[in-house]
């Protein structure tokens, strides 16, 4: 019965019907605006990046411009230590950020999914940094980390740490400081998505498990986690791509410094193209970043067997 109803609810998209006047062109007309915008402002730029990656192209040094073959790529992989440094830092940044965001986001979602007094207000408050921009996050944490009037001053008043500590200008503390700032904004994303998915876990399962005497931890491992699996895989993947590509926060918080300690690959690419005007080389680096992202995503989806069981 239930199945029949579900089938009736979602019929396969029908072909032309007699009653309704539906010209065959209609679906194409409907997707045309989106398709044209994406062709012009995503596909074409991507192709031009691939093209320029094979060129020497630098408007400030026009005498060198011309076909480069794989020179740019060879240079990146063999002669540019900064490329490797920034690539390794990007990987570290993405893994730490996504891992911690998932962990805290999951815990937070499980907590605010319980029923308790003040739930609506707590939800609204813990989710709110989600809507805050990268630049604003930087502004807030620059105020907090400020060596003169920031939180360290008041901690020092309490006898914790020293006066005048600036976490953002010390190479040994800048990484955790930046991670915490980005966590503040990133955890709510996971919490919101996971909470949405938690709503759809059938309560029957928990009651059945309860009857069988399963502990809450076992219920979590055998019911909650498998149910959340696809949502977790998808959200971690999207978030990883996003964290890799996102330059707003680090650009404004640390500017990639001190001494290049927090320069990610995209930040390095932006500097190469915008400041150094070396478009050809920047395009080659972009191509490399794109290929790495695509490759990692495919491997990740394969390894995690996304959508495996129920289809």
């Amino acid at each position: 019965m239930a199945q029949a109803a579900a089938v009736a609810k979602q019929p396969a998209p029908p072909r032309r019907r007699r009653g309704s006047a539906t010209p065959r062109r209609l679906p194409y007309l409907l997707i045309a605006p989106a398709a044209l915008l994406m062709l012009g402002f995503i596909a074409y730029p991507v192709i031009s990046v691939f093209y320029y990656s094979l060129q020497h192209y630098n408007p400030t040094k026009p005498w060198r411009n011309g076909f480069a073959g794989f020179d740019n790529f060879v240079f990146a992989f063999t002669k540019d230590p900064q490329f490797w440094d920034t690539l390794v830092f990007s990987a570290k940044w993405v893994v730490v950020e996504v891992g911690l965001q998932l962990l805290f986001g999951l815990a937070l979602a499980l907590i605010v999914n319980q029923s308790f007094v003040g739930r609506a207000l707590s939800r609204a408050m813990v989710f709110s940094p989600w809507a805050v921009s990268g630049v604003l996050t930087s502004a807030i944490w620059v105020l907090l980390y400020n060596s003169q009037t920031g939180i360290t001053r008041y901690l020092a008043d309490l006898g914790i740490g020293e006066y005048g500590t600036s976490w953002l200008s010390d190479t040994s503390t800048v990484f955790p400081a930046a991670v915490v700032a980005d966590l503040w904004r990133g955890v709510p994303f996971f919490a919101i998505l996971i909470l949405a998915d938690l709503q759809s876990v059938s309560k029957d399962l928990y009651e059945a498990a309860e009857v069988d005497g399963a502990s809450r931890i076992r219920q979590f491992i055998h019911i909650t986690l498998p149910h959340l699996k696809d949502a977790i895989i998808l959200s971690t993947l999207l978030r990883a791509v996003w964290e890799f590509n996102n330059v707003d926060l680090l650009y404004t918080l640390t500017g990639g410094g001190p001494a290049g300690a927090t320069t990610t690959l995209p930040l390095y690419i932006a500097n190469t193209s915008v400041d150094a005007h070396n478009f050809g080389y920047a395009s080659a680096l972009t191509t490399v970043a794109f290929v790495i992202l695509l490759f990692c995503s495919i491997v990740y989806l394969r390894l995690s067997k996304f959508g495996g069981e129920d289809k």
Binding site: A107, I151, I192, L293
Partner: protein
Amino acid sequence: MITKDAEISDAPVAPAPEAEEPPRRPKKRQRAWDEVPRWQIYLPLSIYLLFTIVPFYWILLFALRPAGSTSLVPWPITFDHFEKVWTERAFGTYFQNSVLVGVATLFMTTIVALAGGYALARFNFRIKRAFMLALLCSQFVPGALLLVPLFQIFAELRMINSLGSVIIAETVFQLPLSMILISGFIRNVPYSLEEAAWVDGCNRFSGFRVVVLPLLRPGLIAVGSFAFVHSWNHFLFALMFLSNQDKQTIPVGLNTLLSADSVDLGALAAGGIIAAVPVVIVFAFIQKWLITGFSAGAVKG
């Protein structure tokens, strides 16, 4: 509801085959969800709330207390920083520009994605699979890394220094996900409703408007506010494509304050509050739709 019925009808049957079970059952009847000890909820939650709220309080503190004060309570309250940022630092102009970009992006994204999403949900056509694949792949294309070619395109279209360039760029990068989400929402509306409307004399468009559109409201609100918040917050496109000061947006203004040699902390904090207000309002407004909007069709796709 169904759950409880099932259990009640279950209870009298179960004791018959297994004799040991009944004594345990009545106790278990209290729902598992409510058994979590309160401190396990309130302790971690208050720690996390502290982590969330202290930064917000900090920026409010800097925005409201006089320059040079080190008090932890913003008293006496002053609005000098706001006045200064709004007029001297041109945040009034930035604010207007940001609103314009945000609202235009909201409408463009929603309308274009609605048309495309409807086609994806209701038709089979030849390039549908390829189109879906393109939508998914575009999620991996980093907008930040396409700055240079995008700049060249807008330069050729003579749109550098016009808000139109930013509106188009923001819309384009919002489209794929919005379209996937909206097509999911439309699939959740039974097709038979639309067919019934046609029988009653509606054509495709009026049937869609009368039957489907009202049911899409929560989804459209979610997608539209994402588009608004995203374009309000995003700063790279505006930074690159707009160089005239009277065309810049709030995040660019904040970045200017941040990258100054000696940062005016009070002005920075006040500017940050101005940047946050519209987003907080939108957020408060959509909060109740956010969770349902997501679980309705988002992940199912």
